[in-house]
């Protein structure tokens, strides 16, 4: 379990995150929702030690990331992070060289599924294909937890469909997924749990099916309540 406990973060003089607490359990798909700029990306970065936080703690399977950075987490950023002049298969080789958890077979499976030509240069990829490659890089690591920052943003319809289908597949099954998005309509039916972040504060945290059962409300209904009061 990823246990985020009372995280606060100040950037310059603004409090970007205020006492943020939630958990991500293995086998569940949790979604962090909010409008742009509310601190969703920042939260993911604190969990992966890509940005420091001022107060609170984050435990991954019980161990504080302040003590030891966890290698059981995979991060898929919202943009391509491999050099443009690298070929896709060179990026895979890079992962293979440095990550003991790299799963070559799964990478090949995903390449097949996404229909990607690994001989292309990363700089030559369309936004949709770059997003697919970022996903492959992240999902091919044998980690229990995968963090995805806006996996659906700014990509075409068909790429989105392919990526969405991944969430029902064995590539994701059994893992603890935390994704951020501001396009909730596309993914509502895939989520186990939703955490709504507004202005750096958690305003709602619920299980989707429970919310539907008890209050007959969809996630979008909940969002509407938050933003329209």
């Amino acid at each position: 379990m990823i246990d985020v406990k009372g995280i606060s973060k100040k950037y310059l003089f603004k409090k970007v995150l205020k006492d943020v607490s939630f958990t991500v359990k293995k086998g569940e798909i949790t979604c962090l929702i909010g409008v742009n700029g509310t601190g969703k990306s920042t939260t993911l970065k604190t969990i992966t030690n890509l940005t420091p936080f001022n107060n609170g703690d984050i435990l991954i399977d019980g161990i504080s990331i302040k003590k030891k950075r966890s290698d059981n987490i995979s991060f898929v950023p919202d943009h391509m992070t491999m050099p443009a002049n690298m070929k896709i298969r060179q990026a895979f080789q890079f992962m293979k060289d440095f990550y003991p958890r790299w799963n070559e077979e799964r990478a090949a499976e995903l390449v097949d599924y996404m229909n990607i030509d690994v001989n292309q240069k990363i700089g030559a990829l369309s936004k949709g294909n770059a997003a697919k490659v970022s996903l492959i890089l992240g999902l091919s690591l044998n980690t229990d937890y995968v963090l995805l920052d806006e996996p659906f943003s700014g990509i075409d319809l068909f790429a989105k469909e392919k990526i969405r289908n991944l969430f029902s597949s064995h590539f994701i099954e059994g893992r603890g997924i935390l994704l951020t998005t501001h396009e909730i309509e596309e993914v509502e039916h895939l989520l186990d749990r939703v955490v709504i972040l507004n202005d750096g504060v958690i305003v709602k945290d619920f299980y989707t099916e429970q919310m539907r059962m008890e209050e007959g409300k969809s996630v979008i209904d909940q969002l509407r309540e938050v933003y329209q009061g």
Binding site: T48, K66, R69, H79, T81, P83, F98, R101
Partner: protein, 269 residues
């Protein structure tokens, strides 16, 4: 350890094309300079030669005349500039552009200080590579010189004398080991300090630059103190040298410690 070597290999491969181009430029430019200058000396002599004249005083040339020339020095200065640029570029490139590779480096599943050491090592390997290549070129360039310039006006020197201490080359390729360690030792310490300042900037931005400047000031203070103490306590020359080395070691260790802490705990993408 294995990750360190793999990372050094990776860093070196990223820069080698530009490096090869620079070396190519060095070899070409210096060879041409030697050939052209040698020819001009030869022609100048042959055109004005009259039997019985004293040519030694007016026309004699040494190889060091060539090595002091602009055509010879400019490529060296160029390479130095490129390497100085690379000290900064090796870090800032990871944040530049739309594919921020910094994410990948900082997420690698081992201590981030390895990145620091890998970049430092690659830089040093490139610098020493240049040195070795320049030294290796000397006999070859000298051969070009001796084959063109007629013996009458040529004054042959030993390799060491070409490198007079007051020339740029003399500083870059010192003829004795003490000077070598001094120049390059201080150089390595300086690079470590610069790396630390860069990491401070990447972690704290503007505040980091302030911290960096304070750190540099402190390092300079430490180094200068080592001289002052030597003066005030009237220490022997060997003792003074030891003091200076100790200060340099302290600065380096401090740089490493600060970088270790900051890059693992405070850096931000």
């Amino acid at each position: 350890m294995k990750n360190y070597f793999k990372l050094v290999d990776f860093e070196m491969k990223r820069f080698w094309k530009i490096y090869a181009a620079l070396i190519g430029l060095l070899i070409t430019a210096q060879s041409i300079t030697v050939a052209v200058l040698s020819n001009s000396y030869k022609n100048r002599f042959e055109e004005s030669y009259m039997p019985g004249m004293n040519y030694v005083d007016d026309y004699s040339v040494r190889f060091s005349n060539v090595t002091m020339s602009d055509g010879f020095m400019v490529p060296i200065v160029l390479i130095i500039s490129a390497l100085v640029f690379y000290i900064f570029f090796t870090w800032y490139r990871e944040w530049l552009g739309k594919n921020t590779f910094a994410y990948q480096l900082l997420l690698l599943p081992f201590n981030r200080m390895t990145i620091y050491f890998a970049k430092l090592t690659s830089l040093l390997l490139y610098i020493f590579g240049c040195l070795v290549i320049q030294i290796a070129m000397y006999p070859l360039l000298n051969t070009i010189f001796t084959s063109i310039v007629p013996q009458e006006i040529r004054i042959d020197q030993s390799l060491l004398l070409w490198l007079s201490p007051d020339s740029l080359l003399g500083v870059l390729i010192p003829s004795n080991s003490v000077d070598f360690f001094t120049s390059y030792g201080v150089g390595i310490v300086a690079v470590s300090v610069i790396f630390t300042v860069i990491i401070l900037e990447r972690s704290f931005r503007l505040k980091g630059v302030g911290l960096g400047i304070a750190f540099i000031a402190f390092c300079i203070f430490l180094f200068v103190e080592s001289f002052i103490i030597g003066e005030n306590y009237l220490l022997y020359i060997q003792e003074r040298v030891i003091l200076q080395i100790v200060s340099l070691v302290m600065i380096t260790v401090l740089s490493f410690m600060i970088s270790y802490y900051i890059i693992n705990k405070k850096i931000s993408v």
